[in-house]
Amino acid sequence: MTPTIKALAGALGLLACLVAAPAALGSDVSDIGYVDEAAIGRLPAFESAQKQFNDERQSLEQSFEAQMKAAKSSADQQRVQQDFQQRIARRQQALFGPLFARAQMAIASVAANRSLTVVVDKRIVLFGGLDITKDVVDLVSGPGAPVTPVNTPPPSDVGYIDQGALDQTPRIKAAQDRFIAYRQDEEKRLQAQLSQAKNDSQRRALLKRSYAELDQQQQQVLGPVIQETQNVISAVAKKRGLLLVVDQASRVYGGTDVTADVVSALK
C-alpha cells in the first residue's frame, strides 16, 4: 500500500467516523431541559418566606377585619380593602420577588451553561430532556448571586402561548360572552323550574336536561372557535418550524413565544 493510498484510506475512515458521530452524539444531547418547580418551592428560603408571609397576612387580615367593621361608609370600606390589598401585594413582592428573581437567574444560568433553548416544568416531560433541578437548587441555595448569562437563550423549537391573551381576542371573547349570557339565562330558567319540581327525581331530571343543553350549547358556540384557534396555533407553529406549542404555564425559561403571532392571525 503506497503512502497515498494509506492517506486516502485514513481520510475515508475519518470521514466515516465523523459522519456517524453527530447522530451518536445527538442521541444523548437535547436542548430541552426541565426543572421541578415544586422542589425549588420547598427550599428553606421559599418555605421560610411563605411562613413569614402567612403570619403577616394573618395579622393584616385581623387588622383588615377590624377596620372593615369600623368603616362607616362603603367608600371607607373600599378604601380599607384597597389599602389591605396593596399592603399584601407589597409584602408578597418584598418577600418573594428577590427569591423568584434569584431562581429565575439560576435557571437562566444553568440553561445557558447547558446550551438549553427551553426549560419546561418537570410535569410535562414524559421522558428525555435534561433535568437541571439539582443544578438550579444548588445555585439558588448557594452563596452569592448566580452568574447572569451573557446571552439570551437561542431560538427554541418549542413554542409557548399565553392562553389568557387569546381569551381577550375579539372572536374568542365574543363567543365566550355569548355562552356566558346563554348560561345565565339557562340558570334563571332552571331556578324557576326547580321551584316547581315536586320531588327529587323531577329535580334531577331538570338538572340533567339543563346540563345537557349547556354542554351542547358550549360545543356549538365555543367548539368551532376552539378548533379554529388550535388550527391557527398549529399553522403558526409549522410556519415558524416549531416542534410543538405548550401552555405558557408549563414553560419556565426560553422557548419561542407565539402569542403575538397567533393573536394577530386570529384578528
Binding site: 486516502l8 475519518l14 389591605f84 420577588g97 429565575q104 410535569r123 323531577q202 404555564a249 414553560r251
Partner: protein, 440 residues
C-alpha cells in the same frame, strides 16, 4: 497528489458533517422530539365516559348553585304530615283515656257517695250528691285539657320558630363562608396580580438606562446592518429577560392560586360540617329545654286547679249538710279526685312523653336539612376524589403509552403538555389506538 486527496477527503467530511450533524435541522424530517396532546387523548380514552359520569353526578349534587335539600319538599311535607298524624292520634288516645278515667271515677264516686248518703238516711242525688263531684271532675278535666292544649300550641310555635331560625342561620353561614372564601381568593388573586405588575414595573425601571442607551445607539444612522441587528437583539434580549421573570412569577402564582382554591374549598366544607352539627345540637338542646319548661308549667297549672275544687264544692252548699255527712262526702270526693288527678296526670305525662318524642323526630327531620348540606358537601368531596383518581389513572395510562411509543420510535424527548401540533412527532393518535386495543 497526496494533498489533493486529503483536501477532497476533508471537504467530503465537512460536507457530510454539515448535512447530518451539528444543530438539528428544523422541519418535518426532525424526529427527535415527540409529544402527546394529553387532553385530547383523555377525551378519547375508553374510560372517559366514566369521568363524564362523575362530572355529571357532581354537578347534579351541587345543583348549579341551587342548594339541594336532602329530601325534596314533597317528601318533607309527607314526613311532617305523618308526624302530625301520630301526634293527633296520641292526643286523641289521651283524651279518650281521660274520658274513660272520668267515667270510671264518677261511677265509683257515685256509688260511694250514694252509699254514704244512704247510710246517713239522706236521699241519693241531692244537692251534695255525686253530680257535684262529677261536675268538679269534669271541670278539672276540661281545665287540665285546656292547659295541655295551650302548652302544646306554645311548644309547636316555639319549635317551628327555632327550626326556621336554625335553617336561616345555616343558610347564612353557608353564604358567609362562601363569600369569605371568595373574598380571600380574590384578595390573593389581586395580590398576586399586583405583585406581578409591580415586578414588571421594577424590572422595566431597572433596565431603563440600558434600554435608553441601546435606543440612543440605534438612532445613529451610520450604524451598519450587523451592528444595528446586534443592538436590536440586545434590546429584545432585555425585553425577553424581563418577560421571563414576570412569566415565571405568573406561573408560580397560577399554581399557588389553584392550590389556594382547593384549600379554601376544603376549609369551607369542614367549617360548614362542624357548624351544621353544632346548630343541630343547639336546636335539640333548645327544644329539650323548652319541653322541660312546658312540662313544669303544665304541672304547676294542673296543681293550681286543686284549690278550686274546694271553692266549687262550697258553691254547692255542702256547708248546709250535717257536718259528719259533709265530712264524709268531702272525704269521698277528695279521695276520688286525688286518684283521678293522679291517673290523669299519669296519662298527661305519657302524652307529653309521646309529644316530646314526636317533636324530636320533627326537629331531626328539619335539622337534617342542615346536616344534609354538609352530607352533600361530603358526598361531592368523595365523588371529586374518585373522579380525580380516575383522571389521574387515565392520564397515567396516556403518558405511559406515549413513553413506550416514543422510546420504540427512538425519540429523544417526549412532552405531555402540548396544546397544539407543530412539526414534532405527534403521538396522540398512536396512543389513542393503543389504549383502545388494550381496553377492547
Amino acid at each position: 497528489m497526496r494533498r489533493v486527496l486529503l483536501a477532497i477527503a476533508l471537504t467530503m467530511t465537512l460536507a457530510a458533517c454539515a448535512k447530518s450533524g451539528g444543530a438539528p435541522a428544523q422541519g418535518p424530517s426532525y424526529t427527535g422530539v415527540g409529544y402527546v396532546r394529553v387532553e385530547d387523548a383523555v377525551r378519547r380514552h375508553p374510560l372517559y365516559a366514566q369521568l363524564k359520569q362523575y362530572d355529571e353526578e357532581i354537578a347534579l349534587l351541587q345543583g348549579a348553585g341551587v342548594p339541594a335539600p336532602p329530601v325534596d319538599a314533597a317528601e318533607l311535607a309527607r314526613r311532617e304530615a305523618e308526624l302530625q298524624h301520630s301526634l293527633t292520634a296520641a292526643a286523641a288516645d289521651a283524651k279518650a283515656e281521660l274520658g274513660r278515667l272520668q267515667q270510671h271515677y264518677e261511677q265509683q264516686e257515685h256509688e260511694a257517695v250514694a252509699a254514704a248518703l244512704k247510710a246517713a238516711g239522706a236521699a241519693p242525688g241531692g244537692a251534695g250528691g255525686a253530680g257535684v263531684v262529677s261536675g268538679v271532675a269534669s271541670d278539672f278535666q276540661r281545665q287540665a285539657k285546656e292547659v295541655d292544649q295551650r302548652a302544646q300550641q306554645s311548644f309547636d310555635a316555639y319549635r317551628d320558630q327555632v327550626i326556621a331560625q336554625d335553617r336561616a342561620q345555616l343558610a347564612a353561614a353557608a353564604k358567609r363562608l362562601a363569600d369569605e372564601a371568595d373574598r380571600k381568593y380574590r384578595d390573593k388573586e389581586h395580590g398576586l396580580s399586583s405583585a406581578e405588575a409591580q415586578l414588571a414595573q421594577e424590572l422595566a425601571q431597572e433596565s431603563a438606562p440600558q434600554r435608553l442607551e441601546l435606543r440612543t445607539k440605534l438612532q445613529n444612522l451610520a450604524l451598519d446592518q450587523a451592528a444595528r441587528k446586534a443592538l436590536e437583539d440586545q434590546l429584545q434580549a432585555l425585553d425577553q429577560a424581563d418577560a421571563d421573570q414576570v412569566a415565571e412569577l405568573r406561573n408560580r402564582d397560577q399554581k399557588a392560586l389553584g392550590a389556594y382554591q382547593s384549600e379554601l374549598q376544603g376549609d369551607v366544607q369542614s367549617k360548614m360540617q362542624a357548624y351544621s352539627a353544632q346548630v343541630h345540637r343547639d336546636t335539640n338542646a333548645k327544644l329539650e329545654q323548652r319541653a322541660g319548661l312546658e312540662r313544669d308549667a303544665i304541672q304547676k297549672q294542673v296543681r293550681a286547679l286543686a284549690p278550686q275544687v274546694s271553692r266549687q264544692l262550697d258553691g254547692f252548699e255542702l256547708s248546709k249538710m250535717p257536718p259528719p255527712l259533709r265530712a264524709r262526702v268531702e272525704s269521698i270526693h277528695r279521695d276520688f279526685l286525688n286518684r283521678y288527678q293522679a291517673d290523669a296526670q299519669g296519662e298527661l305525662d305519657r302524652f307529653d312523653k309521646t309529644r316530646q318524642q314526636l317533636s324530636a323526630r320533627y326537629a331531626a327531620l328539619h335539622g337534617a336539612v342542615g346536616a344534609a348540606d354538609a352530607q352533600t358537601a361530603k358526598e361531592v368531596a368523595r365523588l371529586q376524589h374518585d373522579r380525580d383518581q380516575l383522571y389521574a389513572k387515565i392520564v397515567d395510562q396516556v403518558e405511559s403509552r406515549a413513553r413506550a411509543i416514543g422510546q420504540r420510535r427512538g425519540l429523544k424527548v417526549v412532552l405531555g403538555g402540548a396544546i397544539a401540533a407543530g412539526t414534532g412527532v405527534d403521538l396522540t393518535d398512536d396512543v389513542e389506538r393503543d389504549l383502545e386495543k388494550s381496553h377492547a
